[in-house]
Amino acid sequence: MKEFLEGSHAIAEVIKSCQPGVISAYPITPQTHIVEDLAQMVSSGELKSQFVNVESEHSAASVVLGSSATGVRVYTATSSQGLFLMQEVVFNIAGMRLPVVMTCANRAVSAPINIWNDQQDSISLRDAGWIQIYAENNQEAVDFHLIAYRLAEDKRVMLPVMVCMDGFILTHGMETVDMPEQDKVNKFLPAYKPLYKLDTADPMSMGLLADPDYYMETRFALQETMRESIGYLSEISKEFNNVFGRDYKDLLVEEYQLKDAEKVIVAMGSVCGTIKEVVDEQRAKGKKVGLLRIISYRPFPYARVYEALKDVSKVAVLDKSVSLGAYAPIAVEVKSTFFGKKKSPKVISSFVAGLGGRDITAETIHEVFRRLSAKEVNFEFIDLKPELLKEEYGE
């Protein structure tokens, strides 16, 4: 049923339809509206979950870890510093193979403190062993949570999933969303049946010490599952389409106007909406431009990226985060996709934009296309303020 909703409320509604047994979260902007709405649903009795109000994000993640290990479906949400405080537990959850689902309302990280959107928070946890999928709009954000539970709880997967949605832009944005009906949710997402759990009827120890004789295989198993999940994402996407009639293809990437494209931007998240508009505009003028949107950042779909870009002449990777002292995070992946390959773009340039909530406008995207020339560039920040650099930093 189509409804005009705030992104956070839409997420709360879809989480309600997933019926988690335990929800635990700690407030942080811009995640708050999601958990406020869930608290209200629990308070009114329309959602039969245990809502645990914790004293920190570290404990929020620890609570859902404990609940998940006890065999119930769980949910948490956070952002920025909150995710960083969780980090230790985030790695732990993946290592223990617990199917936790989390929303990351993407936000810049301190210092300086900044509550606005970029993707530095979740990108920084890319090595944690969580599947990370990035939504472009609120319809996707809603649908991806259903897919996240289905994927996480798949017996072949048993990995936590982080659904990333741009803070404020999506969480606080009002959009028309086709909200999934409960009977369809029930069909797509059956009740969680844990493979193993803390149960006095069948005692088990979890979280053991693994010495050098045993540790490495646990990491190998994580990596293998990540690799295999590339296929499971596509498979579950197909089933999702069968039930809900929305087709996310392989759920790894979205190709937009890539046929015959000579200049392509690679990006992730809500900025892709703006990029699509610019692509349409330039296409109307006869320019051969396109967009490759990354949906699954972990596992990273190297093969799909290769297929999509191998015949493109010039590629601009637009990151909303940085890896200070190195190439930008998505750019690293795209460049490494083509190392030693027969076919490859002539240029893979790397641009950084939109940090700390600086608007990425249509003009920003035009500027990226303009700067995408025969000369490959790296570390190029778009939309910097030269006057500020001069005043404050003496440049």
Binding site: M204, M206, F220, E224
Partner: protein
């Protein structure tokens, strides 16, 4: 590939920590035992068993020879003997 490290207690044999004993081992005299169960209670390994007077014993596969059982026995019915003495146990 799914492989978390979990262990069910029924599948755990435990380390054979009895090999840790180097000097002394507890020896039940079975003379003045009143079945107070203090030795059973205090054993850090939990390797003491028994119910009746003068019928307690311990599992040398695991006993580390700490001597707490001998120390707590109110009747001094357990003595620590040399590991080499090869005295008949239990």
């Amino acid at each position: 590939m799914f492989g978390p490290l979990t262990v069910k207690p029924k599948n755990s044999k435990g380390d054979k920590t009895g090999s840790w004993r180097t000097l002394l081992r507890p020896h039940y005299l079975h003379k003045n035992c009143i079945a107070c169960r203090m030795c059973l209670m205090i054993c850090p390994e939990g390797c003491v068993s028994g119910k009746e007077k003068n019928a307690f014993s311990l599992d040398y596969t695991f006993c580390k020879g700490c001597g707490l059982c001998a120390d707590i026995c109110p009747k001094k019915d357990i003595e620590m003997v040399s590991e080499e003495s090869k005295r008949e146990e239990s």
